[in-house]
Every structure is written in C-alpha cells, then in structure tokens.
C-alpha cells in the first residue's frame, strides 16, 4: 500500500463531490415536499390517500435503497413507454434524484408526523381561540413548531441519505464513487481509493453535523432558556 497516493487521488475524487451534493440537495428538496404532504394526509386521515401513504411509507422502509434504485431505473421507463414516452436515454441522475427523493419523503413524512403530534394541543386551541381557521393554525402555529421538533431527526436522516448516495454509481452515475471505480480499474489501488473516499465522506458529514447543530441552536432559540433550566 502506498499512502502518499491518497494525495494523488484526493483532488481527482473531490472534484466529483458536487454530483454527490447535487443528488443530496435534490433528494432533500423532493423529500421535504413529499414528507409534508404525506404527513398531513396521515394526520388528517384523508380517505384512500391515507391508506396509500401508509403502504408507500411501509414499502420504502421495508426495502433496501439499492433495490429501490433499480426498481425506479428499470421500472419508470417501462411505465413511461406505456404512455409512449421514451425515457431510456434520460440522465441516470434523474432516476437517482427520484429514488432518493422518494426515500427521503417516506422518512421525512414519519418524522414530520411525529413532530406535528408532538406540538402541545394547547397551541392549536390558542390559535382557534383567537379566530384562526384550520389552515392558518397549521401553517402559522403548528408547522413552525413541528419543524423545530423535527429538526434533529431530520438532520440524522439527511446525513444517512448522503451516505446512501454512494450507491448511485450502480446505475451509471459518475459521482465520487463512480469516479473511484474507474480509478481502481486503471490504477489497481483499491484500498487507497476507498480510504480517500472514506475521508471525503467523513469530512462532509462532519461539516453537515456542525452546520446542523449550529442551525438547531438558532432554530430553538425560543426553547433556549427552557433547556438551560433543565
């Protein structure tokens, strides 16, 4: 093993970090939209949709992300040909974004649902008592507090997703791992390359954790003195 090779591989690999981050940002954005919608469907127990939402969450939780990735990659174009849309040459990044978005959506939905239920009942009553309608109550009083409650779990889930993106290369996305694989094929220094990759992922996760913990403090400023009292 040649440790110094890490310095060689590091710039080559990190130049693909933006692909990884792009997948993550897309997944989180899609996931947030799906998550809030599904959480509300489940909270208000919307008929039929509630049932579907339950199945969706249960399926996403119960199957490995790698299998989901293949299901979307092969399944979506197959579905689309039924309506005469050719998706066989679409950018694999698109399929990755959809898969990870759906996966994030399922976990965010449960996190947000738990958080909404975690907001004190008195908050909704206070909102109603001053004459707010249901939507105003939800948007102005419950959701802002629920998102703060949800934040730590949300942060964990995002970090998990970042690591999951390392599977995107399996459908041909050229991210850091994809680039790593081509480097292994040409250089035969697998260990050094995986070491480098682990350092990059670890570094990014540490940065994310720092960022999340800072924003958590900022978000929870109104809880501040409460936790200090405890």
């Amino acid at each position: 093993m040649d440790i110094t090779l890490i310095f060689d591989f590091f710039p080559k690999l990190i130049s693909y970090l933006h692909i990884t981050l792009l997948i993550l940002v897309a997944a989180v954005a899609i996931g947030l939209v799906i998550g809030v919608v599904i959480a509300l469907i489940r909270i208000y127990k919307v008929p039929v949709l509630n049932r579907l939402a339950f199945i969706y969450i249960s399926f996403m939780r119960g199957t490995p992300i790698l299998i989901q990735l293949f299901l979307i990659y092969f399944g979506l174009p197959a579905l689309l040909t039924l309506v005469h849309i050719d998706a066989s040459r679409a950018n694999p990044l698109l399929f990755v974004a959809i898969t990870y978005g759906l996966s994030c959506g399922a976990s965010f939905a449960e996190i947000i649902r738990g958080a909404i239920n975690g907001v004190e009942k008195g908050q909704a009553e206070a909102a109603y008592s001053i004459g707010m309608n249901e939507k105003q109550m939800m948007v102005r009083v419950i959701l802002p507090q629920a998102l703060v409650i949800a934040f730590p779990n949300f942060a964990n889930s995002v970090i998990g997703s970042l690591k999951d993106t390392s599977l995107a290369f399996t459908i041909g996305v050229m991210d850091m791992v994809g680039r790593g694989n081509t480097l292994i094929a040409t250089s035969l220094h697998a260990l050094e390359i995986y070491l480098t990759l682990s350092m990059i992922y670890y570094g990014v996760v540490i940065c994310l954790e720092k960022g999340f913990s800072l924003s958590e403090k900022k978000l929870q400023r109104f809880e501040g003195s409460l936790s200090a009292e405890k």
Partner: protein
C-alpha cells in the same frame, strides 16, 4: 349580549353539562364557581366551540350557532367575537411576547403590521409588560406569561373574554399580579366570563355569580346574594369548605382587594 340556551355536553355516555341557560349582558363580569368536575371549564369551552356542545345553542350579538348544525364558518365567526385566556397560558411558543399579541391582529383581523404593533404595545402597557415585548414565553415567569395571555385576548377587542382558571397553574406568589390585571380590565367595562377557584376575587370583581355543580347551575345571582345569602344546600356547603381553605388565599389577595 351573550346567551347560552340549553347547553348540553356529554363525553361518551357521561353527561358533563345538563342543559345550561345563561345570559351575560354587555360589560358584565360573570364568574362561574363550583367544585372540580362540575363542568365549569367545559361550559366555557362550549361558548367558543373548542368543545362542540351535544345540544343547545350559543348566541353572541347577532350570531347564533347551534350545537349540531353550526358550520365551520359560523363557528369561525363566533370565535372572532370571543377570546380566551387559558389555564396553561398557551402562548405561541415560537413567537415573542409582542408577536403573540400581534398574531390575531394581523392574521385574523387583517391589520397592517404597523397598526398591529401599535395596538399590541398599548395592550402590553396595560398589563405592564412593555419591557418584555421581545422576550420569548419561556423566558417569562408564569404570572408574566398569563399577563401576555390576557394581552393577546384583550388586543382583539372581543365581545367577551373567556378566562379558564387563569391563576390555577400559577405559583401562589404570582397569583396577585394576574388578578390585579384582570380586575383592572374588568373596570374598563370589558365583558368577561371567568371560571375560577379564587372565591374572594370572584366576589370582588364580578357583577354576577354562577354556582355550578354536577353539570348544572345550582344557583346564580349578584355576589351579595350568592355569598351572603345562598339558598341552596350545595352552595352553602361549597362556601363552608372554601372558607376553611381560605387562609392562604386571603393573604394572597390582600394586595389586590
């Protein structure tokens, strides 16, 4: 004017209110007294439909909402005529003191931010909390939080303020400041319905006393009549017990009365 007609409420098979009729005139302060579990709080919550009555109707001014037929829109209209002060304060935790008071003014009454801020400051002045305007609820004492709760209700300039045991969750030494604020706004001629355990306070501040037990009104009348000359055995027994426990209460209230 507020009128409750034959308000009944059951939780499952358990009847909690057995047909309450009550009329409150504009500017009147009505206190509802009674032992725990008598249905006082449920009655109060039926007035703004936080609990939907099983039977009966609520009339405030020109709007009447009936228990079963009352639509969402009617209930909303009814709620816009009322405001409530909660036992557990229920301030919006994610908003500062002034934002709590401004919220209804902006979102429900559609005032501009500047107008809302001005009105909110005036009300905070009344409850003596202008210097805490930018604090978050968790940074305040219970008494201060409840004064914000009162300010939030008062700011909306409602037809009636419903106060649900406003001092029951407070440490004894903080009760006085809250009662003082309630007394001050009572003197301004704001209509209030107060559910309370503070008997001497009720005597002092109310125009009318309602004594409830087991889901019905046992006796009602002016404080003089109810306190000096109760007719019903249940009322007499209640006051006898309260008087025995009143030692601590009196010392708290001496500052107010």
């Amino acid at each position: 004017m507020i009128q409750l007609r034959n308000i009944q409420k059951s939780f499952g098979n358990q009847p909690v209110l057995k047909g309450i009729d009550l009329t409150v005139k504009k500017g009147e302060v009505v206190s509802i007294l009674g032992p725990s579990g008598s249905g006082k709080t449920t009655l109060l919550r039926c007035i703004n439909f936080l609990e939907r009555p099983t039977e009966g109707e609520v009339m405030i001014d020109d709007i009447t909402v009936s228990s079963q037929k009352g639509s969402k829109k009617e209930i909303l209209t009814l709620r816009k005529k009322t405001a409530m002060v909660f036992q557990q304060y229920n301030l919006f935790r994610h908003k500062t003191v002034i934002e709590n008071v401004m919220e209804g003014l902006i979102v429900v009454q559609k005032n501009s931010k500047e107008t809302a801020r001005k009105l909110a400051m005036e009300v905070l002045e009344k409850v003596g909390l202008t210097e805490k305007a930018n604090a978050y609820p968790v940074q305040l004492s219970g008494g201060q939080q409840q004064r914000v709760g009162i300010a939030r209700a008062l700011a909306l300039n409602p037809e009636v303020i419903l106060l649900d045991e406003p001092t029951s969750a407070l440490d004894p030494e903080l009760v006085g400041e809250v009662l003082e604020v309630i007394k001050r706004i009572a003197e301004e001629g704001i209509t209030m319905i107060i559910v309370t355990h503070e008997v001497s306070f009720a005597k002092d501040v109310s125009d009318y006393i309602v004594f409830m037990d087991q889901g019905e009104i046992v006796e009602e009348g002016t404080p003089t009549v109810i306190f000096n000359n109760p007719k019903e055995e249940r009322t007499k027994r209640f006051f006898k017990r309260i008087n025995r426990e009143a030692g601590i209460l009196e010392s708290n209230l001496s500052s107010v009365i």
